[in-house]
């Protein structure tokens, strides 16, 4: 048996050797070369393209010695306006003490005058006694208090949506909401005059941004049509690319409203979702202060996401997003400012709840506010050299120079003189501040008189002061 196997093996060997002798020469040579090449590749050293430099260690040390970085921060001129900021002593309410001088406050965004409301303060005091100041944790790790849940509930009921979610900082609200839905490869159409928080949210989302001219629906439609043509070229990609339009209810930079009914029509025609940022219009527009959807009488379910901050009308700190549960619930796990940051201090949440109570109980303050805004708008119209930018019912107006001197710096200096003069006469105003290098579309310099509910008599003084300067 084994002999046969041995013979069988021998046979195979013999066959191999025979085949070896019978093979053509080129075949053998080719195989030999290939084997030698494999051996060479196995034993050759691998190298990265980058390190193929011919620098000796000594040269490397020299490079390290020679390299000089820029200074960490460039020097700031001593007379930069932001360094000599206005210090407010005491509460920033109707009468404000700026740099030691008492003025009437036309600078804080305290639209409904709730900053020094006694009921709000006592609600905050009660919450302070019960919960202390901080929450010591993010929402996921024992940072959820019953006041947060109550505030979310109340906001959802007030805005008549299914759900609301609270953030602990107004800026972070929209800046975390946008990247939670819009990722790389998605398309966002955004108005040119969008505020900085929206710009940062868009930058963090890494989506394709398409700017359309401020409030220009024709421009937006043109962009949407172009996108449709693109889609037809590549339908598979189009089926997974999400599209969004981001607009503000009342624009901070220009003081006018967005044409929401036309936007809704465009939404259904081109199948884009709408994100609405209502920081200035929440608590201002609409019969009950529900914002621009109430102002135009639009069904709130038509807007996919409404985001607002509580730092203007509600005189608290923080922000919220509201909408349908399908959309809002996603942010509880993927909103960065929600998951990775401590929650809102309970005293601020209690203050916001009380402010909401006041808003619900006295719906006529919105009428009062609107009347005052119209009055102020009319009163400021006739001032020579300055033009009023903004809608008549917007509480935050911009006063810009009618003829710009051509250079932004000179404009800013002139406006600063006006503001200083007003401050000396007892009116606290502020210039609109921007980060010049960071904004995508820098608005012209202006200053912002802000209208508030209890400012009847002061308007006269404002009028006179600005007239004289």
């Amino acid at each position: 048996m084994s002999a046969a196997a041995g013979v069988g093996q021998q046979w195979v060997l013999v066959e191999m050797v025979q085949a070896f002798y019978e093979a053509p020469a080129y075949h053998l040579i080719l195989e030999g070369i290939l084997i030698l090449w494999i051996i060479r590749l196995i034993f050759s050293k691998t190298y990265k393209l980058q390190e193929r430099s011919d620098l000796t260690p000594k040269e490397k040390e020299e490079l390290i010695e020679e390299w000089q970085p820029e200074p960490l921060v460039p020097p700031v001129p001593k007379d930069h306006p932001a360094l000599n900021y206005n210090v407010v002593s005491g509460p920033p309410t109707h009468k404000i003490t700026v740099n030691g001088k008492e003025c009437i406050n036309f600078a804080s965004f305290n639209f409904l005058g709730l900053l020094d409301n006694e009921k709000v303060k006592s609600a905050a005091q009660a919450s302070l006694k019960k919960y202390g100041v901080g929450t010591c944790g993010p929402r996921g790790f024992y940072g959820t208090f019953d006041v947060h849940l109550e505030l979310e509930d109340r906001l959802a009921k007030f805005m008549r949506t299914e759900e609301a979610i609270i953030y602990s900082y107004g800026f972070a609200t929209i800046a975390s909401a946008i990247p939670a839905y819009s990722k790389r490869g998605d398309i966002v159409f955004v108005d040119e005059a969008a505020c900085f928080a929206i710009q940062k949210g868009l930058q963090a989302s890494r989506s394709n941004i398409k700017l359309f001219k401020h409030n220009d629906m024709a421009d937006l439609e043109r962009l949407l049509k172009e996108q449709e043509i693109e889609d037809q070229k590549n339908p598979r990609k189009a089926r997974v690319t999400r599209r969004f339009i981001v607009v503000e209810g009342l624009y901070m930079n220009t003081g006018d409203v967005c044409p929401l009914p036309e936007l809704i029509k465009l939404k259904y025609k081109y199948k884009v979702r709408i994100f609405l940022e209502e920081s200035l219009s929440f608590g201002v527009l609409g019969e009950h202060g529900r914002g621009i959807t109430e102002h135009f009488g639009i069904n709130i379910d038509d807007i996919d996401l409404i985001s607002a901050n509580m730092e203007n009308s509600l005189a608290s700190i923080g922000g919220f997003c509201c909408g349908r549960s399908f959309i809002i619930d996603h942010q509880r796990l993927s909103g960065q400012g929600y998951c990775f940051s401590a929650s809102l201090p309970p005293l601020l949440a209690a203050a916001a709840i009380e402010a909401l109570n006041i808003m619900e109980d006295n719906p006529d303050i919105f009428q009062t506010l609107r009347a005052k805004c119209e009055h102020m708008h009319k009163a400021l119209q006739g001032i020579s050299g300055l033009k009023v930018v903004g809608e008549s019912f917007s509480p935050a107006l911009h006063l810009q120079l009618e003829d710009s001197s051509g250079s932004r710096e000179n404009d800013v200096k002139l406006l600063k003189r006006v503001v200083d003069y007003c401050m000396n006469s007892g009116i606290a105003l502020t210039q609109a501040r921007y980060l010049e290098k960071e904004e995508k579309c820098l608005p012209s310099p202006s200053f912002l008189p802000v209208c508030r509910v209890f400012s009847m008599g002061a308007l006269q003084d404002l009028h006179e002061a600005v007239w004289c300067s």
Partner: protein, 524 residues
């Protein structure tokens, strides 16, 4: 064998001569079977997940999640189905361990609102009862300043009455109150630097100031395990980001050398500046940054250092000044000192401190100063009173006592856990104690059983941690008494035996004090 210093898996070899006291960190690896079983656990969960999705798609099971509107069904879907697979099928099963609402101050003990679910965690219902006096091992209350004692909160109450709650303005407009100026001076004095600036939110401090400091053409070297706010700030800045292995100085040095020698990729131009982003204490690992080595590297290669002391300010150091004091170094060595007030001071907000021109630059160019609201006055007052207490300016030694108590509690807690045989990560002095659970099933079981014993713990799994390393994270507080810690430790002991969590191969006996008894009855 107990003091086995930093396993080479995580941190590399260190230069011991720069440290004034021993630096002991532990990152023990679990036995192989644990990793295998963890993967098996996730595998089973995934299979069941597919099964349930299939049943839901075919209508065999109720769909509980919210759905898109009827009018918008033909829009491009908002979420990819696969993205939510993990959320729907794995996270949803143990969702009741997170977002637990509380209804009292988050001190060493708190009251939880009882909630039950009728449909396997899809919706929750509050029964109206509260679970009282649950021991709090989850809140970041290191120095115990989350308190409601009237004497402690006297000044805060006064300021709230005087200033109200809101500001309604940004720093550069009408939002700088005298309170902010007072607070900034105090923070600068506390840290021993020229000047400081405070912001309304800790997360936003990072994400809004890193873009102001670096831009295109700069290089950011960031630790592997940095917090999301640092990563977001680095991404928003537009600079190039390179990651070095967690706390690994060889990896950092190699990156620094390569950066300076080879310059920017492709164009070979020199980098404008190089910034190293590190944290004081890493909240998921409990490890402390190797500051002396990083500072020596930074001086040698002329880079800048940005230190995020969110968890370490107030919690480490002989007087609570953070990792700079812990290592005995001077605050001038660190270019940008950043921290938050949420953890050790029981308030909210963040700060950046350093040399005067740095802070001046931030006052003019920070995104937060121009566009975001400033900190609200009662919160600022809380920080002022907590800092005064820590510095001893209120006339008592309470602050120092708190820091010492925290140190004692930390060392006791960690020592006992090691002795029991659990795998604990991190530095011996860090009040953040991660206890490794590994398997997904144990995450839910651990948290629920601890709640039954009236102890509230925090458990973390994927994606906050690597998939095989789920953990429970304890935050020791100065307000915890010895009895509370003992209660927790006994519960952990029992639960560790029940759930088989004692993976450590270096365990000592669990009752060493019995062996220290030297009473021997001599029988004549």
């Amino acid at each position: 064998m107990y003091t086995h210093v930093f396993s080479t898996k995580k941190n590399g070899v260190s230069n011991g001569t720069l440290y004034k006291k021993t630096f002991i960190e532990h990152f023990e690896q679990a036995p192989m079977y644990v990793a295998v079983l963890t993967f098996v656990g996730f595998g089973v969960g995934t299979i069941f997940g597919y099964l349930r999705d299939f049943m839901r798609a075919w209508g065999l099971e109720k769909r509980n999640i919210a759905e898109e509107r009827e009018q918008q069904k033909d829009f491009v879907p908002l979420y990819q189905d696969f993205e939510n697979f993990y959320t729907r099928n794995l996270y949803m099963r143990i969702r009741d361990n997170w977002n637990r609402p509380i209804c009292s101050v988050p001190g060493p003990q708190f009251d939880l609102m009882e909630r039950v679910t009728d449909d396997y965690n899809w919706t929750f219902r509050f029964t109206g009862r509260t679970i009282k006096n649950v021991i709090n091992m989850g809140s970041y209350n290191y120095l115990g300043f989350a308190e409601t004692e009237p004497t402690a909160l006297k000044t805060v109450t006064k300021e709230l009455q005087k200033y109200g709650t809101g500001i309604c303005s940004t720093r550069q407009e009408m939002g700088t109150l005298d309170k902010h100026v007072e607070l900034e001076k105090l923070v600068a004095k506390f840290l021993g630097v020229d000047d400081a600036m405070v912001f309304g939110m800790g997360f936003a401090t990072n994400s809004m100031n890193i873009p102001a400091l670096v831009g295109k053409g700069c290089l950011i070297l960031s630790d592997e395990l940095n917090h999301t706010s640092l990563v977001l700030g680095a991404r928003l800045s537009g600079a190039t980001i390179r990651i070095f292995k967690h706390n690994n100085m060889q990896s950092l040095e190699k990156l620094l050398r390569d950066a300076i020698i080879y310059g920017q990729p492709r164009s070979r131009r020199a980098w404008r500046k190089i910034i190293i982003l590190v944290e004081g204490i890493y909240s998921m690992e409990g490890s402390i940054v190797r500051l002396p080595e990083i500072v020596s590297l930074k001086k040698k290669y002329k880079a800048y250092l940005y230190l995020d002391e969110a968890h370490s300010i107030g919690a480490v150091g002989a007087t609570g000044r953070g990792v700079v004091e812990y290592f005995g170094m001077s605050p001038d060595d660190v270019d940008v000192l950043m921290g938050t007030f949420t953890k050790s001071f029981g308030a909210a907000g963040g700060y950046i401190a350093g040399k005067k021109d740095l802070v001046d630059f931030l006052r003019t160019h920070s995104h937060s100063a121009v566009y975001a609201t400033s900190m609200c006055p009662p919160v600022a007052e809380q920080i002022i009173r907590a800092m005064k207490c820590l510095m001893g300016l209120d006339g008592t030694t309470q602050g120092l006592q708190r820091v010492r108590q925290l140190g004692k509690n930390t060392r006791y807690f960690r020592r006992r856990l090691h002795e029991m045989g659990f795998i604990i990560y991190g530095n011996d002095d860090s009040p953040v104690v991660p206890l490794l659970l590994y398997m997904p099933g144990k995450i839910g079981a651990f948290a629920r059983r601890m709640l039954e014993k009236n102890i509230g713990v925090v458990v973390v799994g994927f994606p906050a941690t690597p998939i095989t390393e789920s953990r429970a994270r304890f935050c020791v507080s100065a307000a915890h008494t010895r009895e509370m810690l003992d209660t927790v430790l006994n519960a952990l002991d029992e639960l560790g035996d029940f759930l088989q969590l004692k993976y450590s191969r270096y365990s000592k006996s669990s009752h060493p004090e019995l062996y220290e008894e030297t009473r021997f009855e001599l029988e004549d």
